[in-house]
Symmetry: C2
Subunit: 472 residues, 2 copies
């Protein structure tokens, strides 16, 4: 640590107790690397405030002394958004100790949770009241409320509930100058200029630290059923989704994957088995739900709506989960995709991209062909949230492989994919954010946007206290 950093740590400990700062290298170590091991940084201390007042004091002191802070929740960023800089110039500001659920209001269907509350804990806490917080994703055992907001997290329930932005009803945060923004009043109407709550959503901790949030809740699910469909193409999957959506508002999940990805899971993940008897080019997982026992059970709903689509040949084959265990087994295939692909196919560039939903089947087809034409021997494909227009588009080394393929050719492949996405009116980051990983590409492809974001950043954080080197 620099003398200035040490002095900041000393003052924070003097004011807020020993626990307010961790300086033991072994305790800091796990938080210096992102969870996929792609970015590594250095930091002399982790600051751990236990209240919003303490966060404000720490941010204020850091600003006065010119020390940058890297906010951290569960450290599950996919884009290096929570990794400290390599030069050790910043300290980590962990929100982990702010993990209280302050209140649950079942009448208003709202929960007020601090930034460090882990998503799974939130799910469990409200479930006790017979209600639910619908957003969920693979990292729910680590990911925190503050991180979900700062990255406007997506996940598998976006189709019905939207991303984190639509689930936030108010934010408490600390701005880069140490000002506390209190947006937790629960006002249904408040028109006092641009929303500061909205400013902090998706800002990746560059415009301030989220310290707590008021979140929307929904009735607990009464039941669910998951159908597994065999299909000829992504277009057939999209057509199927459109029919389902025109008939019901109870479809919560709609994920697609190519046959090779299913095969990778079946061979890599113990205990998995093929949901359908025969091979199909593409597969879709469809989840239908019921909020109460008064409506048609989800399995019957799916059977009724899917039958004519099988009859007319839009769907090649389908099976519907007959138990919660089977529904879980279908989801397990989906949730194991990334891991199985990595283990089976070796190195690949991965792209979390979006285009307008209706344009996705054509984009998947054309982009794969263009990438394979430009880099003969590679294999391009996508899987994921078709109903959101968000596919995780992977390009595997294939015949061009070798230990250093990713380093050698990965950036050029990624640039091509991003060019194709941009030409299709899409986004180079659908749900994972920009962080350090996509910063250069954002600047290359969206210079106007970067100029605007950077102007806002400079105006609110002229000393670059908050999360330096991320986003802009």
């Amino acid at each position: 640590m620099t003398p200035a950093q040490q002095s900041l740590v000393d003052e924070i400990r003097a004011r807020f107790g020993e626990r307010a700062a961790i300086t033991d290298a072994a305790d800091i170590e796990p938080w210096l690397t992102d969870w996929r091991g792609r970015w590594h940084g250095r930091a002399g201390a982790i600051l751990q405030p236990s209240s919003t007042r303490e966060v404000a004091a720490i941010v204020g002191l850091a600003g006065e002394r010119g020390i940058a802070l890297v906010p951290q929740g569960g450290n599950t960023s996919m884009v290096g958004g929570a990794t400290p800089p390599e030069d050790g110039s910043a300290l980590i500001l962990s929100l982990r100790r702010m993990n209280r659920i302050r209140s649950i209001d079942p009448a208003a269907m709202r929960v007020e949770a601090e930034a460090g509350v882990i998503l799974q804990s939130l799910h469990e806490a409200v479930a006790a009241d017979g209600i639910r917080f619908p957003l969920t994703l693979g990292a729910r055992g680590s990911e925190t409320v503050g991180g979900l907001i700062s990255t406007n997290a997506g996940g598998t329930q976006v189709l019905r509930f939207g991303p984190m932005r639509t689930l936030v009803d108010g934010i408490e945060g600390v701005l880069p100058d140490g000002t506390i923004h209190s947006g937790l009043s629960g006002l249904k109407k408040d028109n006092r200029g641009t929303s500061i709550d909205q400013l902090l959503i998706g800002a990746e901790g560059t415009l301030g630290v989220v310290t707590a949030a008021r979140l929307k809740l929904f009735p607990a699910l009464h039941s669910r059923a998951v159908a597994w469909l065999g299909l000829g193409s992504p277009q057939a999957a999209l057509d199927t989704l459109r029919v389902l959506e025109s008939e019901t508002d109870r479809i919560e999940g709609f994920e697609i994957l190519p046959d090779e990805s299913l095969k990778a899971v079946l061979s890599h993940v113990a205990g998995t088995r093929a949901p359908l008897g025969e091979d199909h080019g593409w597969h879709a997982l469809v989840e239908a739900v019921a909020d109460s026992s008064k409506v048609e059970p989800p399995a019957e709903l799916l059977a009724r709506l899917l039958a004519p689509l099988i009859e007319c040949g839009l769907i090649e084959d389908a099976t519907i989960s007959s138990s919660e265990a089977q529904a879980e087994a279908f989801w397990r295939i989906r949730d194991s995709l990334s891991e199985a692909e990595r283990a089976t196919f070796g190195p690949a560039t991965q792209h979390d991209i979006s285009v307008p939903v209706d344009a996705m089947p054509r984009f998947m087809d054309e982009a794969a062909r263009e990438v394979e034409r430009s880099f003969p021997g590679v294999h391009a494909s996508g899987f994921g949230h078709l109903g959101d227009g968000n596919i995780h588009f992977h390009v595997r080394a294939g015949e061009r492989g070798g230990p250093d393929w990713l380093r050698r050719e990965g950036p050029a492949v990624t640039r091509l994919v991003h060019d194709l996405v941009t030409a299709a009116g899409g986004s180079i980051s659908a749900e994972h954010g920009i962080g350090v990983m996509k910063k250069e590409e954002l600047e290359r492809l969206s210079p106007d946007r970067v100029r605007i974001l950077r102007a806002i950043k400079r105006s609110l954080d002229p000393k670059t206290v908050m999360n330096p080197g991320k986003l802009v």
Copy 2:
């Protein structure tokens, strides 16, 4: 006009045609005063671009020459948000010629409309496709899409659909430096930093001009019914609303008014009659709707849910509209309130304020008593959107009246009301915005917020091109 303004007008006409600028004083006159006649300004020209490209060029040229622009839609601001400055230093930038509905997509339930589209035209255009845009308010015959977004407009349908912010799916706009922001791609997921769409919502034209928007649509209503309730207090009204909300999601409107306001309408507005036979201290108007013929008809739904509340005494009396004409008649009473109050009771200070919904009945009671204690002889009361925690709180001169009461005592009364709202955790502007009217009060009561908004304003508009003197 100054020579610089004249030269800008000349260049705009040369590039975009004669119609792109109005300089005839008689044609400009109606747009120099807000519709309630409270603010008056001067402007040597109204610039009228017909495309986003033209808006961008005009904003860019104005910035180069240091000429400020006041964006104007329907000129229906309640807070002087669209009135040019008195010194003639700005020109008006009218979006009226950008009044195309670019596309309606009934499958995706989206409409893309230019900023100058009048709300009523939007309603009618989508109605032809059997769908609806739910937001509505009194000024729907003048108010434009751009104005609705720039003020995050509310209205009577917020209870079920939220304010304008929740109905916007994407924005196209021009930033103060002339950059075009294109947010109309219809991406369901896009995480490239803080949302620029959100930045422009409620910014009152100070951070740029909205030129078009992609808006959410909903199935057309199949039917509706309106109940008129006689009640003892706002608390009884709120308790009634809570019961209704726990039983159904088909309540679209819930407005309350005191008996004296009803009496004012009955004596002032020809053709109105009391919905109930006897007097009640308070009244509520409740609208229930049905999207299809398959659900319980709204009148039956209301009758079934209200009956036990009458029986247990929560509601004193109720009647349910038996025809569309009667439903309209009930709404006409509500919509005539402001006008009837002004005509009947003389001068009053009017406050568009919000507090958390559950706190509103107590706030109405305590704030009225406090105001009447501090200014003996005045009469304080509120009416409006109880379900949104948004009341239009009026303080009438009463015995303290006289021709100059508003000027003499109005500001002190307003400050007291705002102090009480702030103490209750509320907002001094629930739906009307800040404009010029509440600018000083916002700064007095929310200095942190103003500092943040002003920093953003300076960063994006260092030359103060956009709507000078408004909001911050």
